[in-house]
């Protein structure tokens, strides 16, 4: 059995779902959770119901916002005072930035963006996509412990029957240390929707969207079904959409429950970034477009007429 620490982030005071996915998969290991700052009792209980034995709340000056050095120093001090074999976190913006820094401070290794993992005899082995998902490989860690890994949101899925842990909680005095790269300002995104990498439903537009204004028909559907809007590289490079919306090898790799591709032909680098979506719907006028080879439901037709009809159908179905 391995001693595993799961670092969780919160969003509006709620733990990110990927933490619960990780805890569910850690059934059989000793799992504890660390959070920076405070965490409400209902969230501690939630973590406990998914298997957390203990929840450590790291509190100290200069930890109200993420900074690479502040978070890394605070967690490094805490981890040094304990004896964890592994430290896991979601492969989010913060997780992907923080874990390699933390690992390097222990001269330890980090397995990035795993889509699955096992603990055989207490030893971690992960599966992760490489080349944006064009292939998969087994990943193992070696060298000084603790070992680190990040896990892709939505990849493990929620455990069907979570096993509860004791869920004690404790405040820990944490030291952010010297922060040389200091955060001065946060500029909010235009959209308040969840990020593509964590979205449960994604609607993406391609070159056939013709311009950025036309993305409004995708936004309308997104509002109805609670989706985040994405784009292909062709659409981004043509200036129709921001790079933060790009799905594919030079954008984001995503794995939502539902991916609706509108006017996307399906270049190999786009398919690599979305092929692990659970259900894929494609709308394209070209019946031979490669996107149809990956689609569960393909509609050969014009997105400009199909999308509004589909939005109305979703409204009817959801009683909106």
């Amino acid at each position: 059995m391995a001693n595993v620490l799961v670092f969780t982030e919160t969003n509006d005071g709620k733990v990110k779902p990927v933490t619960l996915e990780i805890l569910g998969k850690l059934n059989g290991q000793k799992a504890e959770v660390a959070v920076i700052g405070d965490l409400a009792d209902d969230q501690v209980k939630l973590l406990a119901s998914y298997g957390a034995q203990k929840v450590h709340k790291l509190k100290g000056a200069n930890l109200d916002k993420y900074s690479p050095e502040g978070y890394s120093n605070a967690l490094q001090g805490f981890i040094k005072s304990q004896s964890f074999d592994y430290v896991l976190a979601g492969a989010t913006s913060t997780g992907k930035d923080l874990m390699p820094r933390l690992a390097a401070s222990f001269q330890a290794g980090c397995a990035s963006d795993c889509t699955n993992f096992t603990f055989d005899g207490g030893t971690f082995a992960g599966t992760r996509p490489l080349f944006a998902g064009k292939c998969l490989a087994k990943v193992e860690l070696t060298g000084p412990k603790p070992h680190f890994a990040t896990v892709r949101p939505n990849a493990l899925g929620m455990p069907a029957t979570p096993v509860a842990g004791a869920g004690e909680s404790a405040d820990v005095a944490a030291d952010a240390g010297a922060i040389r790269a200091a955060i001065k300002e946060i500029i909010k995104a235009a959209s308040s929707k969840v990020d593509l990498t964590e979205a449960n439903i994604i609607i993406s537009g391609g070159r056939a969207m013709k311009n950025s204004d036309n993305f409004k028909i995708l936004n309308e559907m997104a509002d109805v079904i609670g989706a985040t809007v994405g784009a292909s590289r062709a659409a981004v490079d043509s200036g129709f959409a921001a790079h933060s919306m790009q799905v594919g090898q030079t954008g984001k790799t995503v794995a939502p429950s539902l991916y609706i591709a509108c006017g996307i032909s399906g270049a190999i680098q786009h398919l690599a970034g979305m092929r692990t979506s659970k259900v894929i719907v494609a709308i394209n006028t070209d019946p031979d477009a490669p996107i149809f080879t990956k689609a569960d439901y393909g509609i050969v037709g014009d997105l400009f007429t199909i999308v509004p009809i589909m939005t109305e159908e979703f409204k009817k179905l959801l009683g909106k």
Partner: protein
């Protein structure tokens, strides 16, 4: 002022990837290699800094196989002054690469004022080398950067996070910045630039020269395989306007009854 830009050579984005015979990596024989796309933004940023500070020297560093030196020659054709190649296998792990980059920077004898990298390499997609390298160099760093300003010895960097929000950081040089797409528009190498690049100095080291051995490996890969293929889905013809409503209604219905997703 000494600027170091770390670049990686990766398979072109159009590459169809196949595992090699012992599944220890991918088949590399017929691959077209390019400079990692995110590294182009790092090179461009270095050249923009050099334009404003003509005395600056831009050194481009790469750890990887010697089968061709495309990425380094491209960077020098764009305007970098010199290059260092540390010869290594193509599937080295992030920790070893970061240690080799640090070793190469140390060995150059130049004190680094600014280190620029891409935010991730599109081959192993680890997104680790910039963070590990900054730690090893003892420098503050900001990753996934889409905005960069250098004023005197202060760097202002905009980091893109979830959903396109931006965190604005300030730090003093020496520091490390990892570039994201959108930071700038990389220039193309000019023909005279390409000719000049052939005469620019390219130092070549082994991993041992820069103090890296197999003992530095932290991550081991095996069992490379293609992802499982999905079974063929259902395709509906809705080119005819009269059929559209019925087809869409059917697909939306299937999303609930068959896929159970909505």
């Amino acid at each position: 002022m000494n600027i170091f830009v770390c670049v990686k050579q990766v398979p072109d984005t159009e590459t169809k990837v196949t595992p090699n015979s012992d599944k220890s990596f991918i088949e590399t024989a017929s691959i077209k290699w390019i400079m990692n796309p995110y590294d182009e933004f790092a090179v461009e940023q270095a050249l923009l800094v050099k334009q404003a500070n003509p005395a600056a020297n831009v050194t481009v560093v790469r750890v990887g196989s010697v089968k061709d030196t495309e990425a380094l020659r491209t960077a020098m054709a764009m305007g970098a002054d010199d290059a260092i190649l540390v010869e290594a296998v193509d599937n080295l792990d992030s920790y070893s690469i970061a240690k080799a980059l640090k070793g190469a920077i140390d060995k150059s004898g130049k004190k680094a004022d600014l280190v620029l990298t891409g935010k991730q390499a599109i081959d192993d997609d680890c997104l680790q080398v910039p963070q590990i390298l900054a730690q090893m160099l003892g420098m503050p760093s900001v990753a996934v950067v889409v905005g960069f300003e250098l004023t005197g010895t202060t760097v202002k960097a905009k980091r893109e996070v979830e959903g396109g929000a931006l965190e604005v950081y300030e730090m003093a040089t020496p520091c490390l910045v990892a570039a994201n797409k959108g930071l700038n528009t990389p220039r193309y190498a000019s023909l005279p630039g390409i000719m000049k690049a052939k005469k620019k100095p390219l130092a070549q080291y082994s991993l041992a020269d820069v103090g890296v051995s197999e003992a530095d490996r932290r991550v081991k890969y095996s069992s490379f395989q293609l992802p499982p293929e999905k079974p063929a889905g259902k395709k509906f013809d809705a080119m005819d306007a009269a059929k559209q409503a019925a087809v869409v209604s059917q697909v939306v219905g299937l999303l609930r009854t068959e896929a159970k997703i909505i």
